[in-house]
Symmetry: D2
Subunit: 331 residues, 4 copies
Amino acid sequence: MTLTFGVIGAGRIGQLHISYLQTHKDVKIKWISDLNCDKMEEWIAQAGIENKTKDHRDIINDPEVDAIIICSPTDTHVDIIKEASAQGKHIFCEKPISMSLEEAEEAVEAVKKSNIKLQMGFNRRFDKNFKQLHSILSEGELGQIQTLRITSRDPEPPPIEYIKRSGGLFMDMTIHDFDMARYLMQSEIVEVYASGDALVNPEIAEYDDIDTALITLKFENGSIAMIENCRRSVYGYDQRIEILGDNGAIDVGNEQSSTLNYHRVDGIRRDSPPYFFLERYSDAYKVEMNDFIDAILNDTDVLCSIEDGYKAQQIALKCQESLKTNQPQKL
Amino acid sequence: MTLTFGVIGAGRIGQLHISYLQTHKDVKIKWISDLNCDKMEEWIAQAGIENKTKDHRDIINDPEVDAIIICSPTDTHVDIIKEASAQGKHIFCEKPISMSLEEAEEAVEAVKKSNIKLQMGFNRRFDKNFKQLHSILSEGELGQIQTLRITSRDPEPPPIEYIKRSGGLFMDMTIHDFDMARYLMQSEIVEVYASGDALVNPEIAEYDDIDTALITLKFENGSIAMIENCRRSVYGYDQRIEILGDNGAIDVGNEQSSTLNYHRVDGIRRDSPPYFFLERYSDAYKVEMNDFIDAILNDTDVLCSIEDGYKAQQIALKCQESLKTNQPQKL
Amino acid sequence: MTLTFGVIGAGRIGQLHISYLQTHKDVKIKWISDLNCDKMEEWIAQAGIENKTKDHRDIINDPEVDAIIICSPTDTHVDIIKEASAQGKHIFCEKPISMSLEEAEEAVEAVKKSNIKLQMGFNRRFDKNFKQLHSILSEGELGQIQTLRITSRDPEPPPIEYIKRSGGLFMDMTIHDFDMARYLMQSEIVEVYASGDALVNPEIAEYDDIDTALITLKFENGSIAMIENCRRSVYGYDQRIEILGDNGAIDVGNEQSSTLNYHRVDGIRRDSPPYFFLERYSDAYKVEMNDFIDAILNDTDVLCSIEDGYKAQQIALKCQESLKTNQPQKL
Amino acid sequence: MTLTFGVIGAGRIGQLHISYLQTHKDVKIKWISDLNCDKMEEWIAQAGIENKTKDHRDIINDPEVDAIIICSPTDTHVDIIKEASAQGKHIFCEKPISMSLEEAEEAVEAVKKSNIKLQMGFNRRFDKNFKQLHSILSEGELGQIQTLRITSRDPEPPPIEYIKRSGGLFMDMTIHDFDMARYLMQSEIVEVYASGDALVNPEIAEYDDIDTALITLKFENGSIAMIENCRRSVYGYDQRIEILGDNGAIDVGNEQSSTLNYHRVDGIRRDSPPYFFLERYSDAYKVEMNDFIDAILNDTDVLCSIEDGYKAQQIALKCQESLKTNQPQKL
């Protein structure tokens, strides 16, 4: 059976999803919608996509379309989700749902009332290493968990223009780590305490944002966790997790770019980890799309739902409050 | 421009190449030839290949065919190469060319007289790590080389039935290492000394073969090298290289299956390397096919030629002689 | 020149210092004082120490004594420091100075008025790896620091009897990490936020203590830090540090107990790190004693002073307050 | 009980042994003999050794002396062993016994007739990592062994003056690896094949010696082994072992100089291994001396006997023959 897709938003991440969807035997991409689609004619032609539009409603209203991929700016997500779910289209939505919790709730409600699958784009859940860790934890091999630590550092800060519209570090970057923490711990976060500052680029502070953060999380099951974020690690994208339990600890290190070790007068060198998320999670992006397609075809649950998106967003907002007040915040 | 391919031999490795060729935008697989093709109807249909035959000449004589992939048994290689090169078909040929050096020479001559590209299936040259090592060595970063060491261990011995027809350890398994040694050292081997025995499975000795070997190589440039082979390493496929030069050493370790480290009462454990060649070299198989297609489309040199195949075969035969006589053998 | 020493408190750590001091060419141990010294006759004789007493004043009042080592219970430290400094004896004092900040201040004052050297027993400063990190940071190689992370996990919780008299996790265990944080960051801590619980042994909660903690530190220079403590890591003593700066990151891993790697069917195993502090810091204990002796002989500054002891204690107390109030605390 | 020692030869290695023996509670060093002892007065005085002589017979004839340490040039070893064993003195002798196999046999005979302990200075047997490997192999955990590989590379070649008197690479450097191979495999070597050249410093070839070697060993138990030597590895002393058996493989890596990892723009760096044998085997030198003293005091067997010294020497000479003739040599 072939599923007909429409992709809304053809920026970097939209194009990434398209390039994989095109190789999938059960998928046909019929539509692309982007405000700049006039300037993308060549790319769209090369990609072999029949229809382009500036209005995503053309996609949502096409009865042939089975599913949409939302990669447009965050402030469009909720409306698209509401419209598409009303039309019975399955939805893959990049994070976050919205900057506003009230709006996000409306989206959650809309999806609940419909019969569609909605999968959030928390790509890291689909990384083979983190999946393996999740599976070990699900089986209880570590016993009770005492602490969880997530390190997530970008290789370099985005341009200030991006920062301005990003929703802030917690909503833009840490949101992945909030989701990962919930996914691994399999317990809800009940309190957060966030500290941080613009330690890499002071200009970021002018836009009321930070580039470095240490966040303490408390879970319903009593475990505690720490997330560290920084917008810059000059040695590449740093994505590590450590967990300590009754029966031992597991750490998930960075992927290695090569298996070479250089033994020189000045020491032993190996290559830095993959540069950024496109390199690090290239497989995970495929797996998440595959899982979404499987969920539609087999009518099974998605691995990360709109509720997961809502929770991560809620935690991000509580962290913003904690940072502002310098007080722990309960959820 | 689309190249039309025929694949001769649809066993495990033939099917591997087909599965990648099918995703290549410039390739159409028109033919498959296999003696058992009657039993493979379903697979061939699913693979979307139009024509099947038991006689590879149907492929070679089809004027529409641009290139063939030879994955049939070794004793068919030379005839196919001679016929196909006479018809101007480009050839990708799995190793070895032949069990006989005289026959291999005929194949080399046939290719020389033609205008075709022939690429040998020394897949390891296309592994990103070994390529990176090759490139560092080409740039002379290590200075003069003193020693090279290649470790190549299979996870488990093949069935005795396979051993019987394999041509022996040197021709079947070490041939990859002989090619790697030449590729990396960029100098010719001038002498070999081989020792070895059936230390894993004594039954292998009954067929005049061995399962464990240590081989010393001397190169024209004065460097010396060692290859270690074993048909069994219970912890998985072990593919490592070390090289020592004036300015330091480089070692190329095994790929890791995951980035998890388990810290337990009894020590720190990480996962074994990928199980065998299909897992370890899955990318290399794609890259070699890509390079072959590029060489045809752009009329450039292949990365490993029939002469490379001939050399590796010659060294394998000299090692057989060395093992039998317990004497070093000059090339 | 030979220095005459008296050791006050001959428990585990006292005996450790004695065993090293005995091999030092410039040291003679003349006295040992311990309330249980009657039961230790054999050990004292074997150690070749001339005089034993239950009253440490015998040592302090002996004009031949140049320096004392304080390894007695914490509640005796301040009095001994005051008495010994009044008598001009140099002092090596195990941490903490006291459970009370007021008392600790008195000790600091007493030392200030005297002309003696007082070195606190923060043994980790003398570990070669952490010293190397300190030296790299002192030279500014990393540029500005964004984050520091200290992991400090004991292999197993002490007996409840020990817990009761320990002063609590922060004063007993984390105090080393507070000192390490100040030593490495070379800036003062201005705020703390502590979270934690009795997640390993709930009985510990009955004595108003915790066994697992995550602590956020803010520094005068703007950097932020995290300390993780746990009273149990079944895979051995876990002592790691990570620091991120403008020019990269440095992580200091655990020492390895052996250099063996076992490659088996179920993965690759290496030995756990050294079991606990006596194994992990055996060299550091020698170096700290050596440095103390050198400071006396050459009249140079000690590497960690009573002020360092006071600061660490102050931070520990603020963390206790933070934990109790669930509020960040300023220093 | 105190053992009275005399040390014959006060060069670098003699002084190393003296410095440790001086800290041993059961040892008194009464004598030192060295042809240059007149120039060493200050050092001898500082070391607190009562008597010095140019004639080692003064030591051997002193009835108070229990044991001697032979660190004088190789050509003096056999005479000293014969004389000392006749006088009932226990002997610790640096390798090799002699350059001549006939002379070595005389020494073996002399020791056999006496009742003394003679321990050869194969210090690597006393390294904790190699001991651990030996113990695992003794317990048969790996099952039958297929291959053993020993890598032994010095950081830089010795001066040509040293090379001239060294007895050649096999006798001077590889002799340790021959002993290690026998120690670990617990089976005798029955055949050798040696290849090598002066690839680091061509001047070494003028003295009929080599600086790089690859040696194949065959054992009585059927296993095969490879030793690699090079007089130069610019990244430090490289001392590694790998062994492959039925149930897996074990590799023993280099010790690490520090536990720091530097993550920079150009990759991840760690420190080189310890520079040379004095740093790498500092503990092993103590353990071997300790074991020798224990063997005397408890009348137990030494861990490496004069027969072990003889065997290693015999293998070295066979390798010289193999290199000269380019033929495998049987033992």
